[in-house]
């Protein structure tokens, strides 16, 4: 650590390799490098021998071969004649879908529970503490199985909806909860502008993005007027208009209609079917991770000292503005980093899909494809590579965010 204070020594003795701080770290690193190389050589050698004995090789050619299995829940076209590669892509999209959905709902659950846990209502705060402790201390796999069991064993079968006096009926005549999945109304266009359905939705998305920038522009215009005149113009109606009117016009032109699920024969048709496994995984992940997020939110709010509230009050801010301008910006600095790592946990925990048969990347690539082709090494490596990429992307994003909100001190 302090190389400067070492006296010059004449000559070089072998013991200096261990005892002299100038050489010692080099020695240790050399030993580490040799050990690392040896173990890699040993493991690689074993691998090659084992593969030769089993008559296998490392090859990714199986990705082009037909998969031969069906996937119920899918976002892109896929049938059993499609390749293993396409099955993996379906799996990746399914992973991202459930992770995205669960992140959104977990945040909602977590924020509500975290804020309510600090409520001065004794009953509510105790109830939320109970929720947090129950869900944090029981494995997520058990929650997934419990909710999946509710989906399959408790909900009625589509047959129960039949007849003049059915045992079950649809919620608001629009949503059917059955043990084969939940059927909800699905939108479609009578006069689409493009052939492909995805293009139409992209158009809607583009309009929404434009509205977002429009509302930003209104906000900055209002700030400019406020700077010049001292009065802030009322922008609520204009912002609402910018958000609603363009999308409404576009949807009207394209002729938006809703397809309601209908009972045909023994099953529902029309609308969108959300499979039981997806719902079980989605709901279990969000309610489980929500308990963790609730703790993060509570810690974040409690981390802001009471003096901040009092100082803001002394400056004459109203309670609403104290929350928006003083407490929340500081609390978010504490809340958001653990929140993002909870998102990462959701993405990783979504691999438990394999326990309920939701076709995510672990179930397609690491499950059926692996079993059918016997390519264990290739499949598991690619699976890890996928999750590693997602994790590194999320943590890179987190680092950028952390740097941008870091307290600028001294």
């Amino acid at each position: 650590m302090s190389t400067a204070s070492d006296p010059e020594q004449a000559g070089f003795r072998l013991s200096m390799l261990f005892n002299d701080t100038r050489y010692r770290s080099l020695t240790f690193q050399a030993i580490a490098a040799i050990l690392l190389a040896l173990s890699i050589w040993y493991l690689g050698n074993n691998l090659i021998q084992n593969l030769r004995e089993a008559g296998l090789n490392i090859s990714f050619g199986f990705f082009g071969e037909p998969a031969g299995y069906d996937i119920n829940q899918r976002l892109i076209e896929y049938d059993s004649q499609s390749s293993h590669g396409r099955a993996a892509v379906v799996g990746i999209l399914n992973t991202l879908l459930v992770a995205f959905l669960a992140c959104v709902t977990a945040t909602v659950f977590g924020v509500i529970a975290g804020v309510l846990r600090l409520s001065n209502n004794w009953l509510v705060s105790k109830l939320m503490a109970f929720y947090v402790e129950i869900f944090r201390n029981i494995p997520v796999l058990i929650w997934i199985i419990i909710i999946f069991t509710i989906m399959t064993a408790v909900l009625p079968s589509p047959r129960a909806f039949r007849g003049d006096d059915p045992a079950s009926s649809m919620f608001l005549d629009a949503v059917a909860f059955t043990n084969r999945g939940v059927y909800i109304p699905g939108p479609s266009f009578n006069a689409p502008l493009f052939e492909a359905a995805a293009m139409n939705w992209l158009l809607v998305l583009a309009v929404l993005v434009a509205s977002f920038f429009g509302s930003k522009a209104i906000g900055s215009w209002a700030s400019r007027v406020q700077e010049e005149t001292g009065d802030r113009p009322k922008t609520l109606l204009m912002t609402l208009g910018v958000w609603i009117v363009p999308v409404a016009i576009l949807l009207f032109i394209m002729g938006l209609t809703w397809n309601f699920p209908e009972l045909k024969g023994f099953n529902f048709s029309g609308g969108i079917k959300i499979g039981g496994p997806l719902i079980a995984l989605w709901f279990a992940l969000s309610i489980y991770t929500g308990a963790f997020i609730a703790e993060n939110v509570r810690a974040g709010i409690q981390a802001i000292s009471k003096g901040q509230t009092e100082a803001a009050g002394a400056l004459g801010l109203r309670p609403g503005r104290i929350m928006n301008l003083v407490i929340l910006p500081q609390a978010l600095r504490v809340i958001i980093p653990p929140l993002i790592s909870q998102y990462l946990n959701i993405t990783k925990n979504s691999s438990l899909a394999i326990a309920v048969g939701y076709a995510d990347i672990t179930a397609t690539l690491g499950g059926i494809t692996l079993n059918q082709t016997g390519r264990a090494i290739e499949c598991v490596l690619l699976l890890m590579l996928f999750y590693l990429t997602i994790s590194l992307l999320i943590s890179a994003f987190m680092n950028v965010y952390n740097n941008s909100i870091k307290l600028k001190e001294r």
Partner: protein, 428 residues
């Protein structure tokens, strides 16, 4: 003394203090302040009361009407005659499968039971500092005793393993004073020499005091406990080494540790379990057969070590730089500085994080059911729910599993909070 006759009444004594209005005392006040202080709060209270009512009205009759003494679900339904009620008989009939798996020999149940009881004795001196330090000797012996109790077989195996560690300890004690590196590597060499020699004296015979139980016969909650305890205790030293390596100034060692930690933390545990079940055997020598339990222990230990390393790194980073400099200025070398000054403080800061990792790891041991090991969840989803007698008894079994995990995890986190209060030596 002039008397003022115009005043009809003059109070000569003080009025005793009157009791506060009933709305401002006791229960009423508490309810007003804590439950109905505003419109919003009143609505929240009513909603919560309704939620509690819904939950209790669904569960209480179900538990109270529960039946404990039948031998199949059909009999339960017959007795209940359409009433709401649980069929807890599955727990009384299959408790041994839930706790020990379906292959562990029944007459040997006392062995894991004893090991479980001894676990508390072994853990006590680690968890509670007030106990006499001599008990730590038993803690050091415990892994060997527990191994012998649970797996059985020749007693020479744990004895040889123990002798290896003892030899290593003596070598380290003899040479570690002068040079940490010499003592450390000497200890490793000594231990391996003892194990190598001991390998010749372990008898091959089956005729032993405790019959051997192969690892694939382990199962049930016992498997979860074993995986949790083994992996947490193995990953703690590994995590410390990784955290120190990540802080090292040597680029190669730091690089290895960073890559290892980030890689493990970036992938889900399930993929690592896949590695254990289908891939790891390719990396062992062709003629060797490493059983699945050991492979899973290796992967889960690596997994939790990476997380513990990050927690400890946080503790190391939280120490003021002055502590490092003070250690340097006292002339301590790196191992001494770490052992005497840095690690005790850093580990103390890291305790809550380490306990969180331990609880998370214990919950994650249920994932081994995905690679068809029959732990508690695996037993429920596999043999028990598939049997003809108990096909359809979901809630009793899943509730039992949830209950067991809740007890253990909640207990550990309560302990961690107690420990945090106990260790809070700074005056805040």
């Amino acid at each position: 003394m002039p008397t003022d006759t115009s005043v009809a009444f003059v109070r000569t004594a003080e009025i005793p203090p009157s009791p506060p209005p009933p709305s401002e005392t006791g229960l009423v006040k508490w309810i007003r302040e804590n439950l109905f202080s505003s419109w919003g709060n009143s609505i929240l209270t009513l909603v919560s009361l309704y939620a509690i009512y819904v939950i209790l009205s669904a569960t209480v009759p179900w538990i109270v009407n529960g039946i404990w003494t039948t031998s199949s679900l059909a009999e339960c339904r017959e007795i209940l005659q359409g009433q709401v009620g649980a069929c807890f008989s599955v727990l009384t009939e299959r408790w041994n499968q839930l706790l020990y798996g379906f292959k562990y020999p029944v007459e040997e149940y006392w062995r894991p039971n004893l090991a479980f009881l001894l676990l508390f004795v072994a853990a006590a001196p680690v968890l509670f500092f007030d106990l006499p330090r001599k008990l730590l000797a038993f803690t050091a012996l415990y892994p060997f005793i527990a191994y012998w109790l649970i797996w059985g077989g020749s007693i020479m195996i744990p004895i040889v393993a123990l002798l290896g560690f003892v030899a290593g300890y003596f070598v380290f004690d003899r040479f570690g004073k002068q040079s940490f590196a010499t003592g450390f590597f000497g200890a490793i060499v000594a231990a391996f020499v003892v194990w190598w020699i001991g390998g010749f004296i372990i008898p091959e015979t089956e005729d032993t005091f405790l019959p051997a139980v192969p690892s694939r016969d382990l199962g049930g909650f016992m498997l979860n406990m074993m995986l949790g305890v083994t992996c947490v205790s193995l990953s703690l030293p590994l995590g410390i080494v990784l955290a120190l390596g990540r802080q090292s100034k040597m680029p190669l060692i730091k690089g290895i540790c960073v890559i290892f930690i980030e890689f493990i933390r970036g992938v889900p545990l399930i993929t690592l379990l896949f590695v254990a079940s289908v891939m790891l055997s390719y990396f062992f020598p062709p003629e060797s057969t490493v059983d699945l339990f050991l492979r899973v222990v290796i992967m889960i230990t690596m997994f939790s070590a990476a997380y513990i390393a990050e927690v400890i790194r946080g503790g190391l980073a939280a120490l003021p730089k002055g502590q490092y400099e003070a250690a340097d200025s006292l002339g301590l070398d790196y191992p001494q500085a770490m052992r005497l000054i840095i690690l005790p403080q850093a580990l103390k800061i890291s305790i809550p994080g380490i306990v969180n990792v331990a609880v998370g790891l214990f919950k994650d041991t249920t994932l081994v059911s995905v690679i068809s090991m029959f732990d508690l969840v695996g037993m429920i989803r596999g043999p028990i729910l598939a049997s003809t007698e108990w096909n359809g008894v979901y809630w009793e079994l899943l509730g039992f599993a949830a209950f067991l995990f809740f007890i253990v995890c909640y207990g550990i986190s309560q302990y961690s909070q107690w420990l945090e209060r106990r260790l809070a030596t700074d005056h805040r």
